[in-house]
C-alpha cells in the first residue's frame, strides 16, 4: 500500500516538474531514483546468502549490464548539453568509484577476466560495476566461496540495472526538456528504445504466477481484476499485484499475475469469477518470462496472398487479397462468386437474407455471368465500367466477386490453398496462367505443419538466418526443428538444429525427383531442369512437360527400381479399376507409372496412385457371349467380326461386355492388347476342347428362320461345359495306323484328341471316335460316346428296365410301344435328342415319354390326346406311324444331319454322341432292350451295346424327331445323310457304319424301330428304360413338362418356344440322369441357335 502511495506521489511530483521547472528536472529525479535503487540493494544484500538463480541468468544479466553501459555511453555522446552535464555528473562519481573498486578488486581481477572472457567489456567497466558493492575485506570470502562470487555477480547486475534506470531517466529528462511545456507523454523516444535483450528479467523483477482460468474467459478475468484493483485502491485492502496478463489463444486457460509475493496474487484473485487461484499457481521461471510475452508477427497480408472466409455464404472459400486497406484491418479480396441467379424473384425483402442463411443449398462456385444476371434480375444489374458489374449490392470484376472484408472475418493462417482452388484464380482477365507462385508460397509457408516436409536423408539448405548457406543432410526432425548434419563448408560434419523456417530442400539439376503431397502434381516423377530459389522446375517423365513446384514438395526419387510402387504392385496385363465405370488393362509398366488401355480403347498413362483397385483375375469360367451366342471365355481365341479390324487374339480378360484381347500380330503401342466388345467377337478356338462357338449358321438356314409356326429349332446340341472330360484319360486307339496303342489324352477339341502315346514318344491327333476308354471299375473299353455319357443314370435305367418290361407289357397297348419309343428316346438319348434336337421334338419326345411313363397305361393316351395330340397323334400314330415314322426317319436323317452337322456345330458331336451315348449308356439296357427287338438291327448296325442303344434311341428319337425335326433339319440333314437311309434301316446301318456307331445304330433303330418296334420292341424295352428315367426326371418335370410339352407342336415350330417348353423338361430331365449337364447344355445352346 505504501508502495502505491509512494508511486503516486512520485508521479505527481514528476508531472508537476514536467510542467514547471524543466531545467531542474534531471537531477531531482535522479536523486529520487537513486534512493529506491539503493534501498533495493540493501534488501538484496540481506538476501545474499540464499541460493540464487542459475549461473546462466547471472552471466546474461551481467553481460547485459556491460553492453548497456556501452550503449548508453554511445547515446550520451550524441546528446546535447544537458547530456554533457549528466556525463559530468557521472564523471564526478566515476573516479571515486573506480578508485574504490580497484582497491577492492585487485586480488581477483583475473578471475573476473576469465568469467567475462567472451564479453568484450573493458576491465574498467567491470570494475566500475562491481565497485560499490564490494566491501573491503570481503575479498577473501569472495574468492573462496562460490556464494560470494554469486553475490558479486548479483551486485553487478543490480548495479547495472540501477545505472540503466538512471540513464533512462536521464534520457527521459532530456526529452522532457526538449519538448518543454508539453504534457509529458512517454512515447518511445528514438533515444530511449533499448534493445530487448537489455530488458531481460532479473531477480529484481516481480515474479509472474500462472493461474488457471476458465478457457475463453481470460480477457474478462483480466478486466475484472483490473477493476478490482482499482476499486480497492486507497483502501486498507489495496491489492499489491502489479499486472495481470492474458495471452488469449496461445495460452488458453491461464492468466498470469505479476506480483512480488504469492500471497498478493491469491489475495487479488479471490472472488474473481472464472479464475481458479486455489487450484494452484505456477511460478513462471525467470528465463521463461520473455517467452510468455513473445509475440509472433503474423504472416503479412500482401496483395496476392490467399485467405479463407470464416463465415457466411462463402465460408471456407478461398479468396485472394487484392488490396489491404485501413491499416490492414480491411482487405479487399476477390473470390469466386456463389450466386443463385434464380433465387429471389421479388425485389428486396428483408427476410430474404434470413431465408438464405437458413437455406439448405448454397450455390456452386461459378464466375459471374452477366447474361444470367440480366436474365433474372436485370434491374439489379448495373455496369459501371466494362467488365465491372454491380449486382444485388455486390461488385463483380472480371467474373470474380470483389469485396471489402474485415480481417476478422477472414482466416489468414493455415489457409493452405489447394491447387485446384488456386487455379480458379489463375486464369484471370488476361487469360493466361498468372498463377502467382510467390503469393502461393506465402500462403503455404505458414501451413507447413500439415505434413512433415522434411525426412531424414533429405538434403537441405539453410537460406535465411545466421546459418544461411549451410547445406546438410537431415538426420532428425522434431516438431519444426530439423537436425542436420552439415555436409559442406567450414562446419562440415557438425550437427546443427534449424527450424523449418529458413530451410529448404536442395536439389541439383539433373536430380530425379518425385512430387510428394501437397501438390496437384503428387507422385509425378521427373528430372530437375531448373531451380530458382525454392521453386524447382522438372521435366515430368509422364507428360514430358515442365512442372514447377516448391522444393518442399519434392523428394529425390529413389533410383532403385524395386522401390517403384508401380513395379511392385502390378503386373503386365493386369486388369485394374480406374473408377467406378472404367477398367483398364496394363500394357506397360514404367518405374513410376503405368500405361493402360481402358475399356474404351484409349491408352493413357497413369500413376499407380490413380489405380482404384486391381481386379483379381476372374475365375477361368467367366463367360461372355460372342456374336454367335457362343460362350467365350478367357484364353479363348477370338476374332473380331464386326466393327473392328479383323484382329484376332487370345482373350486375357473379360469384363462386362468387354474383352481385352492379346494379339500376337498386333504389336506396337498397346503391346498387342486391344479391346473389343464381346458381341463383336467370334470364337475361333475355344480353350481346352470346349465346344467352340458357332451354333448352326442361321444365315444358311433361311427356311428355318422363315417358317412361322415351324417347328424346329435347330437341333440343339447338348454340350458339356468346362474342360473336356477325356483330357488326362488313358485311352487306346481303336482305329487307324496307331490302332492298339495306349496313350494319354493331352488336349482335345470337339472332334479330335491329342494323344501322347505310351509306346512311342509321340503325340498324335486323332478323332475321338477312334478312341477307346478304359472304364475304371470294370476295365471294359468304352467308346468315346459311352465314356462321355454319364454313367449313373444308366445303371438306374438298366435296373428298372426289366420291370418295365413287364409293366409295359401289362400296359400293353400298341399306343404304348409307340409312346415308348419316343419315351425311351426322350428319356435317354432321346431325352437329349428331343431336347437337343428340337424343342418341339423334345416336347414331343417327352410327351411320349410321359405318355409312356404315365402311360404305362392310361396316361399316354390322356396325355397324348391332351396336349400333344398332334404330335402324339403322330406318336401314337407311331402306331399310326407312317407319317410319324417318316418323321422318325426324318429323325434319323436328322441325327445324321446332326452328325453331319458336326462340322459346323461343334457341339453336335457331343450331343449326337450323347444321343448315342444315352443309348449306349442304356447300353446296359440295351441288352435288355436288344433282346426285345432291336438287337438284331443293331447287331448289324454296330458294336453291340452302344449301337443297340443308339438304335433304340434313334428309334425313340425318331418319333420325337419326326415331330419337330421334320421341320427344319431335313433340308440340311437330307442333304447330308440320306435320310432315306433312315428308312432303310438296315441299309442305313450299313451305310452309316463309318459314322459313329451310335449313329448308325440309331438310325436303323429308328427306322427299324418305328416300323417293327411298335409291337414288341417298343413295348418291352421302352417301358424298361423309359420308366426309370421318367420316373426320376420326368415325374418332376412332367407336370410342367406335359403342359409345356403340350405346346410341343408349337415349340417344335419355334425354337424359342421349344426352349421354353423343354427347358423345364430338360431340367427335370437332366435331373433324371441325363445329367444335368445335358439339360443345361441344351439350354445354353439354345440361345446360340436362336
Amino acid at each position: 500500500m505504501s508502495n502505491i502511495r509512494d508511486a503516486n506521489l512520485h508521479s505527481d511530483e514528476e508531472d508537476d516538474d514536467d510542467f514547471g521547472e524543466e531545467e531542474e528536472d534531471p537531477r531531482p529525479e535522479k536523486r529520487q531514483k537513486r534512493a529506491p535503487s539503493d534501498d533495493e540493494d540493501d534488501e538484496e544484500d540481506d538476501e545474499e546468502d540464499a541460493p540464487k538463480s542459475s549461473g546462466r541468468g547471472k552471466s546474461r544479466n551481467k553481460s547485459n549490464g556491460a553492453n548497456e553501459d556501452d550503449e548508453i555511453e554511445d547515446l550520451e555522446d550524441e546528446d546535447d548539453d544537458e547530456d554533457e552535464d549528466d556525463d559530468d555528473d557521472d564523471d564526478d562519481e566515476g573516479p571515486r568509484r573506480r578508485r574504490g573498486q580497484r582497491r577492492a578488486h585487485n586480488p581477483f581481477l583475473d578471475t573476473m577476466a576469465e568469467v567475462d572472457e567472451d564479453d568484450e567489456v573493458d576491465d574498467e567497466d567491470d570494475e566500475e560495476m562491481e565497485a560499490d558493492f564490494i566491501a573491503p575485506g570481503d575479498d577473501d570470502d569472495a574468492l573462496r566461496h562460490r556464494a560470494g562470487d554469486d553475490r558479486l555477480h548479483r551486485q553487478l547486475d543490480r548495479q547495472n540495472q540501477a545505472d540503466f534506470a538512471e540513464d533512462l531517466e536521464k534520457v527521459a529528462a532530456e526529452m522532457r526538456d526538449r519538448h518543454g511545456g508539453r504534457r509529458g507523454h512517454r512515447l518511445g523516444d528514438a533515444s530511449t528504445v533499448t534493445p530487448k535483450r537489455l530488458l531481460l528479467p532479473s531477480v529484481n523483477d516481480p515474479s509472474i504466477w500462472g493461474v488457471k482460468c476458465k478457457p475463453g474467459k481470460e480477457k474478462e478475468a483480466v478486466f475484472t481484476i483490473m477493476k478490482k484493483v482499482q476499486d480497492m485502491k486507497g483502501t486498507r485492502n489495496a491489492l499489491n499485484i502489479i499486472s495481470v496478463l492474458e495471452r488469449g489463444q496461445s495460452m488458453q486457460g491461464f492468466i498470469y499475475v505479476e506480483a512480488r509475493r504469492q500471497a498478493d496474487v491469491l489475495n487479488a484473485l479471490t472472488n474473481i469469477p472464472n479464475v481458479y487461484a486455489r487450484s494452484g499457481m505456477i511460478l513462471v521461471p525467470v528465463d521463461e518470462m520473455p517467452d510468455l510475452l513473445r509475440v509472433q508477427k503474423k504472416a503479412e497480408i500482401m496483395p496476392g496472398t490467399f485467405v479463407r472466409f470464416k463465415r457466411g455464404k462463402y465460408q471456407g472459400d478461398l479468396a485472394q487479397v487484392v488490396d489491404v486497406e485501413q491499416s490492414g484491418q480491411i482487405l479487399n479480396i476477390r473470390a469466386v462468386p456463389r450466386i443463385d441467379y434464380g433465387a429471389r424473384d421479388d425485389g428486396t425483402d428483408p427476410t430474404g437474407k434470413r431465408k438464405r442463411a437458413v437455406g439448405a443449398v448454397r450455390p456452386p462456385q461459378r464466375l459471374f455471368s452477366e447474361a444470367e444476371a440480366r436474365k433474372y434480375h436485370e434491374r439489379d444489374l448495373t455496369s459501371t465500367r466494362r467488365g465491372i458489374f454491380t449486382f444485388q449490392g455486390e461488385t463483380y470484376e472480371g467474373g470474380y466477386l470483389v469485396k471489402d472484408v474485415r480481417v476478422t472475418a477472414l482466416q489468414l493462417e493455415n489457409v493452405n490453398p489447394k491447387l485446384e482452388e488456386v487455379t480458379k484464380f489463375a486464369s484471370t482477365g488476361d487469360g493466361n496462367e498468372s498463377l502467382d507462385l510467390q503469393a502461393l508460397s506465402q500462403s503455404l509457408k505458414a501451413s507447413t505443419d500439415k505434413y512433415a516436409p522434411y525426412q531424414p536423408g533429405d538434403m537441405v539448405e539453410v537460406y535465411s538466418g545466421e546459418q544461411a548457406g549451410m547445406v546438410g543432410k537431415v538426420t532428425r526432425v522434431r516438431a519444426d526443428i530439423v537436425s542436420m548434419n552439415v555436409q559442406e563448408g567450414p562446419l562440415k560434419g557438425k550437427d546443427i538444429d534449424v527450424p523449418f523456417k529458413g530451410l529448404r530442400k536442395r536439389f541439383k539439376e539433373g536430380d530425379h525427383v518425385k512430387v510428394m503431397g501437397g501438390s496437384r502434381y503428387r507422385d509425378e516423377v521427373g528430372m530437375v531442369v531448373k531451380i530458382v530459389d525454392d521453386r524447382v522446375t522438372f521435366l515430368s517423365d509422364l507428360s514430358m512437360g515442365e512442372i514447377t513446384v516448391f522444393s518442399r514438395d519434392l523428394r529425390e526419387a529413389s533410383d532403385s527400381g524395386g522401390m517403384g510402387t508401380a513395379a511392385g504392385k502390378y503386373d503386365l496385363w493386369d486388369l485394374i479399376q480406374l473408377n467406378a465405370t472404367t477398367v483398364a488393362c496394363i500394357i506397360k509398366i514404367d518405374r513410376e507409372s503405368l500405361k493402360v488401355l481402358d475399356q474404351e480403347g484409349a491408352t493413357r498413362t497413369i500413376l499407380p496412385s490413380q489405380v482404384a483397385a486391381k481386379i483379381p483375375p476372374r475365375r477361368k469360367d467367366a463367360v461372355a457371349t460372342d456374336r454367335n451366342g457362343s460362350d467365350i471365355r478367357v484364353e479363348d481365341t477370338v476374332k473380331e467380326i464386326a466393327g473392328g479390324e479383323n484382329r484376332s487374339g487370345v482373350i486375357h480378360h473379360l469384363y462386362r461386355g468387354f474383352a481385352f484381347i492379346h494379339s500376337k500380330e498386333l504389336q506396337g503401342e498397346t503391346g498387342g492388347i486391344f479391346v473389343a466388345r464381346t458381341n463383336n467377337l467370334a470364337t475361333m478356338i475355344a480353350k481346352g476342347g470346349r465346344v467352340a462357338s458357332s451354333g448352326p449358321d442361321l444365315s444358311k438356314m433361311p427356311e428355318m428362320s422363315k417358317k412361322p409356326g415351324g417347328n424346329m429349332a435347330p437341333p440343339i446340341i447338348p454340350r458339356q461345359g468346362g474342360r473336356d472330360r477325356i483330357i488326362g484319360q488313358t485311352v487306346h486307339v481303336r482305329q487307324g495306323p496307331y490302332k492298339g496303342l495306349l496313350g494319354i489324352v493331352k488336349d482335345a477339341t470337339d472332334t479330335t484328341a491329342r494323344i501322347e502315346l505310351h509306346s512311342k514318344n509321340k503325340t498324335i491327333t486323332i478323332e475321338k471316335m477312334k478312341l477307346g476308354f478304359k472304364e475304371g471299375a470294370t476295365g471294359r473299353i468304352l467308346s468315346y460316346a459311352e465314356f462321355v455319357q454319364p454313367k449313373k443314370g444308366f445303371g438306374d435305367r438298366s435296373g428298372s428296365s426289366t420291370s418295365y418290361g413287364s409293366g409295359n407289357s401289362s400296359a400293353g397297348g400298341s399306343s404304348w410301344s409307340g409312346g415308348r419309343t419316343p419315351a425311351g428316346s426322350s428319356a435317354w438319348a432321346g431325352s437329349r435328342t428331343p431336347a437337343g434336337a428340337h424343342g418341339g421334338g423334345g416336347g414331343g419326345a417327352r410327351t411320349p415319354a410321359w405318355a409312356g411313363g404315365a402311360g404305362d397305361g392310361g396316361r399316354t393316351p390322356a396325355w397324348a390326346s391332351g396336349s400333344k395330340t398332334p404330335a402324339y397323334g403322330a406318336n401314337d400314330g407311331s402306331r399310326t406311324s407312317d407319317p410319324y415314322r417318316d418323321g422318325s426317319r426324318t429323325s434319323n436323317p436328322y441325327r445324321d444331319g446332326s452328325r453331319t452337322s458336326d462340322p459346323y456345330r461343334g457341339d453336335n458331336d457331343g450331343s449326337r454322341t450323347s444321343y448315342g451315348q444315352p443309348v449306349g449308356a442304356s447300353g446296359g439296357r440295351t441288352p435288355a432292350w436288344n433282346p426285345g427287338n432291336r438287337t438284331p438291327h443293331y447287331g448289324s448296325g454296330e458294336p453291340g451295346p452302344r449301337d443297340s442303344g443308339t438304335a433304340w434311341d434313334s428309334g425313340s428319337k425318331t418319333p420325337a424327331r419326326s415331330l419337330s425335326s421334320v421341320n427344319d433339319q431335313w433340308n440340311d440333314s437330307y442333304g447330308n445323310n440320306s435320310s432315306t437311309t433312315a428308312r432303310t434301316p438296315a441299309g442305313y446301318n450299313a451305310t452309316s457304319p463309318e459314322f459313329s456307331g451310335g449313329y448308325t445304330a440309331a438310325t436303323p433303330g429308328a427306322s427299324g424301330l418305328s416300323a417293327p418296334t411298335p409291337g414288341g420292341l417298343s413295348a418291352p424295352t421302352p417301358p424298361v428304360s423309359a420308366p426309370t428315367p421318367r420316373a426320376n426326371a420326368w415325374d418332376a418335370p412332367t407336370p410342367g413338362g406335359p403342359t409345356t410339352a403340350a405346346t410341343p407342336g408349337a415349340s417344335g415350330g419355334d425354337n424359342r418356344r421349344y426352349y421354353d417348353a423343354p427347358t423345364p423338361q430338360a431340367g427335370g430331365y437332366s435331373s433324371a440322369k441325363t445329367p444335368g449337364a445335358w439339360g443345361n447344355d441344351d439350354e445354353d445352346d439354345a440361345p446360340g441357335y436362336n
Binding site: 508502495n3 502505491i4 508511486a7 512520485h10 508521479s11 511530483e13 514528476e14 508531472d15 531517466e169 527521459a172 526538449r178 508539453r182 504534457r183 509529458g184 507523454h185 512517454r186 512515447l187 518511445g188 523516444d189 528514438a190 528504445v193 534493445p195 530487448k196 530488458l199 528479467p201 523483477d205 516481480p206 509472474i208 481470460e218 480477457k219 474478462e220 483480466v222 478486466f223 481484476i225 483490473m226 477493476k227 484493483v229 482499482q230 499485484i241 502489479i242 499486472s243 495481470v244 496478463l245 492474458e246 495471452r247 488469449g248 496461445s250 505479476e258 518470462m289 510475452l293 513473445r294 509475440v295 509472433q296 508477427k297 503474423k298 485501413q326 491499416s327 490492414g328 484491418q329 476478422t408
Partner: protein, 127 residues
Amino acid sequence: MSSANPDYKWRPVPTNHFRYLRACMVCAVVLTLDEFTRKGCPNCHPVLDYTTGSDLAQMCTSPIYEGCISIDKPTESWIAKWLRLDKYVPGVYATKVVGDLPEDAMDYLNAENIEYIPRDGSENNLE
C-alpha cells in the same frame, strides 16, 4: 515512473462492450473506440489527437490485438518494461496490435522525434 496523463483514470469496460475494444497502435492501450474518440489516447494524446473527429482514431487503433495485460504499476512491472509500457498510464494493454500505423500518424511521431515501436510482433525480429 509516472503516468503520462495524471487525469486519466482507467474505467472498467463491461463485458458486452468488449467488442468495441481497440488497441492503440502506438502505445497498445486497450480502450473502447468511444473512449479513444472522446478522451484521446491517455499516452499518445497530444501527439496523436484522436478527439478531433477525424478518423485518426480509427486509423491508429486496431480492433485486432492479442493478449490483454492490465497493468497497475507500470513502473514496477517487468512485463511493462519488456513491452515498453513502463512509462504509460496504468490500464489495460495489448501484447500485440495488428495493423500498420498510417503515414500521417508516423509523420506526427517523427515530428516529435518519437520512434514508433511496432506492436505487431515485428520487433522480435530485430533481436
